[in-house]
Amino acid sequence: MAVVETRGLKKQFGEVKAVDGVDLSSKEGEFLVLLGPSGCGKTTLLRLIAGLEQPTAGEVLIGGQVVNGLPPRARKIAMVFQSYALYPHMTVFNNIAFSLKAQGVDKAARQEKVEWATSILGIDKLLQRRPRQLSGGERQRVALARCLVREPTVFLLDEPLSNLDAQLRASARDELQQLQQRIGITTIYVTHDQVEAMGMGDRIAVMYQGQIRQLGTPREIYDEPGDTFVATFLGSPPMNLVERDTHLIGFRPEHFLPKGVPEVQDNLVTFSFPVTRVEYLGADRLVYGVVAGTSGDTKTMARLPSTVTVPIEPGGDYEFVVPAKELKFFDRDTGLRTGPKPL
């Protein structure tokens, strides 16, 4: 049974369709990531699930029950906001215990639960501090502890790592995933950061313009993008798309290598690749150039690992190859994935 399910969920703000017919179903205990650029409706979808917004149409089910019209507190959910939304005038202890107080949990039980949650997160020494006396990482843990004590059926996390600096973010990502696995609570995680999504998600729902464009494991999403949006949104640099008649050929920059580099020599497709610029990034080299398409040249990129030492100079014209199995085909007009086409 799905922990969280949405059926034909729509939310309109005036003329804007923020969420436009989302059918989503999370599995028990999974870490589901909603990924998309800003304004794609992922946060609104999360708020609809939380009950902070009322849907224009469609249903939200939690634990198999329709919860439309129920307030957030009746939905057995816990949520971490992007800003953590700690109560600035309360101590850490009171921040965490607030929801328990609202539920009428007695004092001893509150104490016990707060201690349990804070010891899991390693913030049990901070109970008497106020939020402004905490670091960003500590605040994030307080926000998580606040979720834990409620023993919810689902965690809703809205970009909880975006306020942390890059270094902290990597370790926090790791901790968060470990925590989720340890307590095994179904989690819906909103982010615009594909690294977070790929690294943490059991499954990723890629959203764009209020709709889920593709739902799958990180590998499926990356390797078998369902359309050109997903193909170009994921990957850095994104997938190259070269127009050929009625379709587009897509290939990832890391598969676009100078002729002779791939160990397997058969089944390669060769492109003529005049190079305009080369960026040396240490672990990689990014090579910029153009590939001839049906209606003109298309800017194309190649990412060469530092193990590839073939000299490449701007202004030179090189032959690059892509393994045929790495070519993805999309319909030029709809952008949807199609079967392989003859080249």
């Binding site: 906001f81 939304a85 109560y87 600035p88 609202a102």
Partner: protein, 322 residues
Amino acid sequence: MRVPGLRGGVRVQLRYLLDREGLLGPLMLLPAIIYILALVGFPLVLAIAYSLSDVTAGDTSLDNFVGLDNFSRIIKRPEFRRALQNTILFVVVSQVLIIVLATTLAQILSQDFRGKAVVRFLIILPWAAPIALGTIAWLWLLDSEFSPIDLILRELHLLGPAGLLGRDAILGTDTNLVWLGRERLTMASVIMVHVWRLLPLSTVILLAALTTIPRDVLDQAEVDGAGFWRTLFQIKIPLILPIMGIAILFGMILTAGDMAVVYNLTRGGPVYYTQVLPTWSFFIGIEGGSLAQGAAVALFLLPLLLVVTILVLRLARRSEVT
């Protein structure tokens, strides 16, 4: 090396004089300092000098030092104790009412509903209208004979000879309540007009304060299962407390220092039962010609307001959370 377009020299330096913060800062502050000295400092010093002399409206020369005579004279007067009590009572009661009502109104106005613009306009109206005009309207509303409020109460059979169901009217069988002729009712009327007058200011201040609360925090409270009252008293009010303190401070100072309401509405009556320090100061200082005693009465406001100000500012600083 000569950089083209870069020139030195005194004239050029003068051009950038105002870019120096050490100079610009004091320069910008100067008008405020002059303002405070001229409009606050000077009158205060003058009032203290007056209160220690025997100046009258006819003879304003400060040539006769009389020590604390003026203070001992006014303290003996029965009006003094009443004016002091009233000043405190009116300030405290009206502020309590204002804060409760302003919080309620600000809550309502922070929601979206049809006709919000009209309601907002109506609420701000008393503040926009000159206070003298407002109190004159109240003078009519509270008239002993022709009060429209009494008229409505009579129509509803809550007042007057014709009660409901053969019983006496709840508010008495007299045809009028005589709002400004009965001690308690008059005091209530004065407080009511103060509330009416300052409610818009407090409401607007609190409304602005409420909008500073991050949406996430309120959403979090909702997710945490806090109902309306818990959210109001444990989240919203603690968060806007510093600004609320400022609203209370403004309200108290404006009420304590106000003479327009009592002057226009009751002139201190009945008897001197609604006299407050500012009006009594005016009556004996200006109408009674004793500038020295008027100044002495007005100076009693100073310690009162000072205590209030210190308390509120300390509260505001303590509850500062960000």
